[in-house]
């Protein structure tokens, strides 16, 4: 039986919390923060306001904390309005009204946080991953009914027929609540639905189609003609792939535009900061995040994902997986200290095929 570590509720009836002053706030400027602004972390954070310790909800790293309606709110600095009161000061041990609760989870029935060490060390191709797979299967079975799983996919996930089918099956069976990707993933997934190719190369036989470089441009043009991905899927009778599964299951997706895009597809968001907002709105619900073979989206998502969430009325950890064939990519988030990340060093094709089989 899956057991999450227990949240340790801080005892604010003790010092230094008890006699700490309220957190300090200063007004924002036009597009900038006050000097010595406080920046948020991935941990639960409490602010003393009007003598009461308040948990900062919907947090994310590197935000300003703004007082809105008496509540502390984590706001990206560029979204803070001129004159809003912004938390200032960088002492976070509770003595000045701000408390970062870094060591907030306790393993049930255990004194020492056993797994801590293993997850903090670097992952390499030679790390043993059997337990990580088993733990992930157990976790996803739980999340299907009780959590919110965000998948973050690089285009390579649909360059191979088996992994594309595996991801579609996982969506179909309820293991994906939301998808983050870019224009390329959606384009090549739909190209595969029409032509069985990605970038003009067959996703099973690897044969290059004649004039195959037109396949993705043609696909994009057809989707733009149809007006939207769902309209395209219906018009052309698309019946397989990742985008089809999402549309059929009614699951949301965020397609963030990038400077390498052709097209783009109609649903792709051109403004990266609008993409950030759309992504964060989903991440605020996330209980598990799984990032595959996309360094940019992984870092972007990691930056906005706190180490904790509220689910079923409780505070529990957010689980964050990063899977890539390169140690550098897998360990990058970890090195930035932005997350407790469980990294797997492998080809995402195999990862997806494994996970789909392991959940049958």
């Amino acid at each position: 039986m899956l057991q999450f570590p227990e949240y340790v509720v801080p005892d604010f009836s003790r010092e230094p919390f008890l006699s700490a002053p309220d957190a300090s706030f200063a007004p924002a400027g036009e597009g900038y923060l006050p000097e010595r602004f406080y920046a948020t972390t991935i941990y639960p954070e409490y602010f003393k306001i009007g003598g009461r310790w308040r948990l900062l909800r919907r947090s994310r790293m590197d935000c300003a904390v703004v007082l809105r309606g008496g509540e502390p709110v984590a706001v990206e600095p560029r979204l803070v309005k001129p004159g809003e009161p912004v938390a200032v000061g960088r002492v976070d041990d509770g003595s000045r009204g701000v408390y970062v609760h870094a060591d907030c989870f306790r393993q049930p029935g255990a004194e020492k946080p056993a797994a801590a060490f293993a997850f903090r060390t670097g992952r390499s191709r030679e790390t043993s991953f059997s337990q990580d797979y088993d733990a992930l299967y157990e976790l996803l079975r739980h999340e299907r009914d009780h959590g919110y799983v965000v998948w973050v996919l690089g285009p390579a996930c649909v360059f191979d027929s088996d992994s594309r089918a595996a991801m579609a099956a996982l969506i179909g069976r309820g293991y994906c609540d939301c998808l983050f990707a870019g224009n390329a993933l959606a384009t090549h997934d739909l190209e595969a639905a029409l032509f069985h190719t990605a970038l003009g190369q067959d996703i099973y036989t690897k044969e290059a189609a004649e004039n195959g470089h037109y396949n993705h441009l043609h696909t994009i043009n057809l989707v733009r003609t149809a007006g939207s991905i769902p309209a395209f899927i219906e018009k052309y009778g698309v019946s397989d792939g990742v985008m089809h599964a999402l549309v059929r299951e009614g699951k949301p997706f965020v397609l963030a535009g990038s400077i390498r895009d052709d097209g783009p597809l109609p649903e792709v968001i051109g403004d990266v900061y609008a993409s950030q907002i759309a992504m964060r709105n989903e991440i605020c619900k996330a209980t598990t995040v799984i990032c595959l073979a996309t360094q940019l989206h992984t870092i972007a998502t990691g930056n906005m994902t706190p180490a904790w969430c509220e689910a079923e009325g409780k505070i529990r950890p957010v689980y964050f997986y990063s899977v890539d064939v390169s140690e550098f990519a897998v360990n990058k988030l970890r090195d930035r200290g932005s997350m407790r990340v469980r990294g797997l060093v492998t080809n995402v094709q195999d990862f997806l095929v494994n996970v789909e089989r392991g959940l049958r």
Copy 2:
């Protein structure tokens, strides 16, 4: 003495050019192209219009060809206006009014294109790079006076004090006409100017500054307070680094936003398609492009860079370098067939230090 390969001007007085019909055009829809639209390549392309063969100027790969004022113009599909005449048909051997001149350069004084093979094979850590460095030094000496060199930099270029200084020196000595980068490069370069750190870590001693994760957030806030990078540089007396060198030398830069950005800095362009336009406006002038340790920007730039340019009244090759510590990144552009790329597999720190020394 540097000698460029000679451009072979097609002889349009011969068949199949002579009796070929004009290129065909069909009207665009609302946001989409006509069926069987023609898509551009990286090579010189000629379109027969009114019985005359016209070179498509300011080209880039994967564009539509639109007739504007009687001239063929390469236009990104999303920028084609409803009703505009768009070239259609995918025969490109000249017999139908469209000619892709793929084999357009001839080595001076040589029958066989000697270097062709070597540049087409994959590059690895075990490839010999001495000649590539020597050729690059010779090329850059030429370009300083006669060309337009665009550098495309990942943030790691400023994570190290020597490579940051080397890049600034190259700008100062006239070897950089334009910079493409993202918010991170500019932010960490300015962070280094203020704090001698990148992401809070000293760029020489590697020591972590206390509360160092604030350094880049603080830097961003100060630049936003100042209103622009030049205003910040002046206000805080910044006197070193890449951004300072660009501003001092009056060189343009394009900072393309991405979903992983904090901030952003004022000059960063939030809309990725606006970034593409800004980048392409510079690439249309480029004679040499050098991409360092940034997969996303390298692919984006590669996609919009043709294999040829017009400089000093002649058609000559564009030289495109991709430098990364990973074979996968270096070879990725090449595999997509989008460019004749000269790849170097190494750490960009050493590359920059080497190039700066080699050009003394």
Copy 3:
């Protein structure tokens, strides 16, 4: 149904074979070959001797060809005896009595060698591997009854409990006829049998055992005390793992020593050239070779594996797989031109678990 490409028997009744002279031979010196010695390739090679074209059996690349008892024999240069007649001359088109039959296989029912292209291009993390897995399953089912499969394993194959169990199961079900490895693989496999660790780290939980660095030294010492791996297995009741499966099934293994060895285990061969001989004796029987996560052993094995073999009275291809998480390692053999290699870029843990499941 698996169909091998057909061997095209050369027609020696035609020119230039018919009027070609016999191959030339010159005597070897003391430890060296005559000037202009001929060196073997990975392809079938024929030598005209006494007016008859003779196939060089048990071939391998980069050998000398020595006449022994009237037969051409491929001999490593260091093993040629002083005075033996060694083939000389480097014309290999048949006109001088030596014929390299490079284009020797024809796909059944097809004119064009369809798969050739795909297997010659580089493999990357973004290559589609579904078909490679399917083809491998079909091949291994055939080989179990009709072939001879040599596995070449790096130590990481036993660093993970699932992959170690998968490999043992493959041996138990008849999919492995011989194992090549080094001291480390055998040591850590036996360490896992005793302590459930590899290099002191649990192969499932990743927990570091107390004083765990002793585990492998202790294991080696116990095996040396027992006198052999089989004796150790019996004495300590070992009942799982790769070495146990090999011993139980009576399958041969070659453990080649290297300069990084502790110990070594009793069966490890200290002299690398004796290891080469032991390996080549097995490779001469091989119909399929599968190399996992070991660059040194993969290159060594690749160098001695021809592109063809004789099995069931016919000449057919040898299939050679190289699996590694690094493109560089996977593509290295291919770049040296030494083999037609099918590369998969992935973590060998997943590869082994996949293959074991795919063959159930």
Copy 4:
């Protein structure tokens, strides 16, 4: 001015040293050690023998400690003779007669071991290396006159003309006291001297020589004909490259054979355990070790290199550098805990060219 950290001499007049019993010894068996044998570390180790604490000289990791002539001696287990007294017990805090002095160096004029943290964390392509280069230049200038520098080179070091010349120049200027390599490095270096190729490809232009695969086989044959590398160098008037520089300067080299060797060259040692002995005899003198692009030799050398040495009558650290383009390779030694390694993630070509320039 270069200052080494100071060695902290243990105070054996205090507890627990004072009342500790002598270290325990038990007799070895035939080819194996007694139960609970003690295994050495990379740190200074002291054994109480006859009431006196004795430093284990010429140490290396994972050895047995044998009493020979009253002195503790670090002996590879396979070299312990039957009946010799071997240290037993695994308590190493001094209380049982064995003391591992792990924290033995103190930075001069500093309380905290400042550099410790930076060197213990993983190195990546994004680590700042400027200081590492500067420190290495300073160190090598010292070592030229006062130390013993062992270079460990993979074959890629001579695949490029500039890096091959840089290494030869470093040898010529006194910065290399001994070379470890394999058959391939020496072969391709001598091939380059004869043909200006490595594996048949020009080391400057990258052009493939006709029949170029013969170049290295031919080179090997000529060296074997000449009888030795020095004889070959003289006979063929070789005047450049790494091997030539070593022979001219009279510097020793150890060429360890491996299973991938062609040839081998006459000086190559076929027995890997004989190679280990030859290497360790040199490592016992080493004050600095620099390993470039060779995972096998780097690990082998790392395993036998202690963290300390005696030079100029003092105990000082051994400095160990590992340079490779792959993070995995660079960090591998560190992960095994076998050494304090300074890793640089870059192409060794650039590293060698940089170091040669930096030392001019």
